[in-house]
Each structure stands twice: as C-alpha cells, then as structure tokens.
C-alpha cells in the first residue's frame, strides 16, 4: 500500500499536477486575444514586460502593494498561510528523503521543528481564514461549500502530516491518510481554482501588461500597485 501510494500513485498525481498546470497555462495564453482583451500583447513588448513585472512583484511580497497594505491583518494571515503551504512540503526533510530515495535528488531542507512550527502556523492561519469567512458579511456572501471543500483539501495533508509526525494515535493510519490527501490535493489543483498557483501569475502578468501597454504605462511612472 505504502509502496503503491508513494510509487505509481505519486507519479500519477505529480504527473497530473504538472501536466495539468502546464496545460492550464497554455490554454490561458492561447485564449488571450489582443483585440478582445484590448491589449497589444505583441506590440510595445518592453512596456508589457515592465508592466507585468511591476504587477507581479508588487503583489508577491507581503505589503508590497497598496491593496496588501490596506488590510494588514488578512495580509499577514494570508502570507503565513501561503508561505506554509508552499515551503513546508517542499523543504520537509521526510519529503526530501523520499525524493532522494526514489529519484536520486533532493532539495535544501529545513529542520523538523521548523517544519512543525510552519505547519502549525499554516493551520492556525487557515483557521483564521475560515473564521473570517464566517464572521465577515462581505466574505460570507461570496463563500460557498466549494470554498470550504477546497480549503479542506488544501489543509488536510498538513493536518494529517502533523498528526503522523507526532504519532498521535496510529502513525501508520495518519501517514497513509497524509499521502492520500496530498495526492488528492495535487490532482485537484489543475482542475479547480487552486490552479491559481500558476494562474495567479498569468492573471497578474496580463493585467500588468494591460496597464503597462494601454492603461497609462507609457505615460509617467506606471501604476503604483
């Protein structure tokens, strides 16, 4: 079971994840239309690139944009959540050990206590995000079951991983659950709005180009995101 899950199943899940995301990017780009979107993607390219970079950079760093600065609380939660989501699985010792064993390479790693802390922070942030969804009328109205399901899908590998790591109750059970959840998440990503892990960049680049090329980017200093 473990062998299957970390072997063929993992390969399949990662395959779907990577290929899925690549396909999404390709479809995104193919679906752009200079006249319909009213952005000359292929003319005035230098302005486009400049606009795209400004747009991405301002928003990828915490408090890098007026929008982030306007709401420090959620921005803080949001970045902790995403930082944890991204870095914990990538640099976890156990994951890299597995990588080395199966694929013969590994990444730089973080210590287990650090990973532990990150995971907990991620879960806490997720908890606050849920609270926020329930508490704030303007978020509540946007929220549907789908949002909670996706949040659960995203958080499940972390929760199960944490439980497994601390060997609460049955290590083996939590480990299996962890792997399954992780793979479910990977598979879900390209097919749901979790695809924003690449489409975030697509969208920001696109809007950056829009402002960089057409909406004022050629005049003055460019949009102060």
């Amino acid at each position: 079971m473990y062998e299957f899950l970390t072997g063929p199943a993992a390969i399949a899940a990662s395959g779907i994840f990577f290929i899925g995301l690549i396909v999404r990017v390709i479809f995104y780009i193919r679906g752009l239309h200079w006249q319909m979107d009213r952005v000359t993607y292929t003319v005035n390219v230098s302005y486009g690139i400049k606009g795209a970079l400004r747009s991405v950079i301002a928003w990828i760093f915490p408090f890098g944009s007026v929008g982030w600065r306007a709401k420090p609380g959620i921005t803080f939660m949001f970045f902790i959540f995403h930082f944890g989501l991204l870095f914990t699985p990538l640099f976890l010792q156990a994951h890299n050990f597995l990588l080395k064993e199966r694929w013969g390479f590994s990444l730089w790693t973080i210590s287990d206590p650090a990973a532990d802390l990150l995971t907990i922070l991620t879960l806490v942030a997720a908890f606050f995000l849920v609270l926020r969804r329930i508490a704030l009328a303007e978020v509540r109205i946007l929220t549907s079951v789908y949002d909670y399901v996706l949040l659960a899908v995203t958080v499940a590998p972390f929760l199960t991983g944490l439980l497994a790591f601390h060997q609460v109750w049955n290590y083996h059970f939590w480990l299996m659950a962890h792997i399954i959840c992780g793979e479910i998440m990977l598979i879900c990503i390209p097919f749901t709005k979790l695809s924003h892990i690449v489409l975030f960049f697509c969208s920001r680049v696109q809007l950056g180009m829009d402002f960089g090329i057409k909406r004022g980017g050629m005049k003055g200093k460019g949009f102060a995101w």
């Binding site: 679906g31 200079w34 979107d37 007026v66 109205i141 920001r204 809007l207 005049k219």
Partner: protein, 460 residues
C-alpha cells in the same frame, strides 16, 4: 420570439426609431416592453463562446472569494457595506451565473443583470487594483454590458445615446452644419474681447486637431470659445474637423461595440483626412478613454494607437504651462484651498496622475489632495453612464456620498474637475447636498489666470 417596438434587440439606426424612443417619456413604455422581452438564449450562448476568452473565464474561475475587493468599491461603502455590493458578488451573481448556466437565463434574470451592470458598477476599475489576482470588475462589467445590449436589456437613455452616435456620430443630435455654425458663432461672439480669435475648421496639416464633447456645442458653446481662446493665447496652429469632432462615446457605456467602432472611426477618419501632428481632446475622461485608449482596438489598429498621437486636454495644458506658451499671472493663482478630482478614465486607466499634479503646481497655492488619490481615487459617483440614467437616480445619489466626504475632508470648497462626468456628478452632488462646493473645468480658470500678451489684448 417576443420583442417590443421600442425595447428590442435591434440597434437604433434611423431617426424614426430614435424619435419614437425620445417621445416615450422617461422610457415608460420602453421598460414595460422590456418585461416581455424574450432572451435569445441561443444567441447568448454563441456570443459567450465566441467572445468570452481565457482572461475573463479565468477571472471568474479563480476568484478566491476572499472579499479583499469589497471596500475598494465606492458603491459598497456608500451603501452601508451591503454585502450584495461586493464587486466579486456582483459579477459572480450576474456574468458568473450566465456562464454557469451557459446562457440559459430568463427575462427576469436579465433585468436583474441590467440593473446590476448599470446601477451597481460604474466600471471604474478600482477593485481591479485591490484584488490580489488583479481581477478587474470594471472590465468584466464592460463585457457584461455588451451581452446585455446584444439582448436588448439596456437602460433607455443609453439606447438613445448609442442611437445618437449611430445616426449623428455624436452623443447628441448635432449635425455637421450645426457644429460648424457653432464654431463660427463662438468666434463671432468672442472676437471683440479676443482680437484675432478664430476657430479654424478643417485646416489640413495643423499642429493640433481638437475634438470635444457634443454637449459643448449643444448647451455650453462657451467651452469651445474657451478652448479657442487658450489655443489662441498659446499661439497654437490648430483646427477642428467638420466631421469626426465628437470625442465622447456613450456607446461604450451602453456596450454597443459596433457603434463604438463607428464613432471612433469617424474621428480617426478626420485624423487621416486633416493630417494634424496630434489630436488634443477636451476635458473629458470617458472621451479620452474611448477614443484614445480603447478606440484603436475597436477599430482594429494593431499598434493599439490612434492614427496620430492623441493627448488629453490636461496633457496639453501641462505642456503649455511648462514650456511657457501659456503664462500664469502669479497674482492670479488660485489662493483658496482647492482640490482635484482624479477621473478614473484618464488617471487610473490612463496614467495621467502626475500631469495633473504638475498643472496644480502652476496654478494653485493651496492644493489639497483627496484621500485616497491618483490611481487609487474613488469614482466621482457618476461614471460609466450612471449620471444620465433616470431609472437609477436614487442609487446614483447614494453613491455620491463617498466623493462628497472625500471633498469635504480636504477642506477645499473648489474642486477642479477636468472631466465632464465628474463635473456633472459634483454639480449634482451640490444640488442634492448643498455643501457650498464649487466645481470647475480648467479652461475658465486658466482664462482668468493667464497673462494676455500685449498684442492679443482688445483695443480699449
């Protein structure tokens, strides 16, 4: 499929139809017919298929429902933070729903969509600069308005407005003769005070071709005279086209893309015909947006640029003051506190934030910024056609509160507003709230402030 006599999916291309619409007081019959107007779901589906491209599809899909955009929207703030005014909700419950149902929506739904598209969004795009993904509801509502228009669900005034453009190539019923005559008239009326003043029509190879807003010849021809006086004082070699002089575009507010194209092409034709070095447009935000920023795309110009370089009036003013073509009499600078209304269309969506500050540095001694300002400024409250639609007067008036508070907070009683829409909104605000706020275009203020060269002064 049921269509009304006035309210239907047809475009207004004849004077008969236009007059019939105009005769229908307040659009009473028009809106009545709308209740019976069938939705052509096949057409809606095919339109979606052909025009809803990855950008909008992606936006609809990846919206994280995070609500970060909520208080970026002035209408949300102005309506006591009504959750139904959250930008994401507004678009998801309309366009999002149409897409989800693949166009299978009914009359009642479409009427709700129309009301949302025109009374809950001014297409100011402020939310787009506050959403982490850069999801721009202004653009999406623009698209949605196009869908509504193609199905005949469009506010009465805008059906008329786009009809005007289709028939007269102007937002009001002004023929080329009326227009040229108005130019002559204004030159006549003002030449006593400004010797040598002329409004040259159809001069080829001029440095500047001036385009404007049909309301100026229709109701406020002084604006034309004022523009002429300033060009005259600056010694510009300028002209106006006898055709293709209308820079504004209500078709853009209406979502009538075909008419948008017709309108901007009439201006581009004038450019090609008169070959000016550049075009200067009047103090209007949406006119600049439609003719200079978006227009080239409607017309299919692959460079994304107008046939000749085109600038907004504030750019010309800044340049004239910078280079000394126009000189401000230091004693006549504005002494009282004064603030500046950043128009969404040429500041946020046109990049002219610094230009306007430059002008203020030349003409005002006590310039007060609103907060927020520049590209993050709030919509005046009347953009995107909101000002002109009687059906949404209540909603519009409610929306004015945010701008009002911003203005009051500056402590200034004078608002410079080089945009017809903002200007209107602030005027109406004064009508509703009576705060004693004054508002002005740049032109009349400049005329009072500039030094008149000796040889251009009247004799006695």
């Amino acid at each position: 499929m049921a269509e009304g006599k006035l309210c239907n999916r047809k475009t207004v291309d004849t004077k008969e139809y236009l007059n019939a619409l105009l005769a229908d007081k307040s659009g009473k019959q028009y809106y009545k017919e709308m209740e019976e107007l069938d939705v052509d779901t096949d057409k809606l589906r095919t339109t979606l298929k052909a025009s809803l491209k990855s950008r909008l599809r992606t936006w609809l899909e990846i919206c994280a429902h995070c609500g970060m955009c909520a208080d970026s929207c002035f209408l949300y703030l102005a309506n006591n933070r009504d959750p139904e005014q959250v930008p994401s909700f507004k678009i998801q419950s309309t366009l999002g729903e149409i897409v989800k149902r693949k166009g299978n929506v009914d009359n009642k739904f479409m009427r709700m969509v129309m009301d949302t598209a025109w009374s809950k969004c001014t297409c100011c795009s402020r939310c787009g600069s506050f959403c982490p993904f850069g999801i721009d509801m202004g653009i999406m509502f623009g698209y949605l308005r196009g869908l509504c228009f193609s199905q005949g669900f469009v506010p009465w005034e805008l059906k008329i407005g786009t009809g005007m453009h289709r028939i007269f190539r102007a937002q009001m019923d002004i023929t080329s003769e009326d227009w040229v005559d108005t130019c002559e008239w204004m030159a006549e009326e003002y030449e006593d005070d400004w010797p040598g003043l002329a409004i040259p029509v159809d001069k080829v190879n001029a440095d500047i071709m001036y385009t404007l807003n049909a309301r100026e010849p229709k109701h406020y021809p002084e604006d034309i005279a004022e523009a002429a006086i300033l060009f005259h004082l600056a010694g510009e070699n300028w002209t106006v086209p006898s055709e293709g002089w209308e820079q504004t575009n209500l078709a853009m507010f209406a979502g009538d893309w075909a008419a948008c194209k017709m309108q901007v092409e009439s201006v581009y034709d004038a450019m090609n015909r008169l070959k000016p070095k550049r075009m200067v447009g009047t103090e209007c935000g949406h006119a600049h947006r439609s003719t200079v920023i978006e227009g080239p795309y409607w017309a299919g110009l692959e460079t994304g640029k107008t046939p000749v370089k085109s600038i907004h009036y504030v750019e010309w003013v800044a340049e004239a003051l910078r280079t000394g073509k126009l000189k401000i009499d230091p004693a006549k600078k504005i002494k009282e506190p004064v603030t500046y209304q950043d128009s969404c269309n040429y500041i946020r969506n046109g990049g002219l934030k610094d230009i306007s500050r430059e002008i203020m540095s030349y003409i005002a001694e006590d310039f007060r910024e609103m907060s927020p300002n520049r590209e993050h400024n709030f919509c005046c409250g009347g953009g995107g056609g909101f000002n002109g639609i009687g059906r949404y007067r209540q909603q519009r008036n409610a929306g004015l509160q945010i701008k009002r508070q911003q203005i009051l907070d500056t402590g200034a009683k004078l608002v410079i507003s080089p945009c017809h829409n903002c200007w209107d909104a602030i005027r109406d605000m004064e009508e509703v709230f009576k705060d004693g706020i004054r508002w002005s275009f740049l032109k009349p203020l400049l005329i009072n402030m500039v030094e008149v060269p000796e040889h251009l002064k009247p004799e006695d």
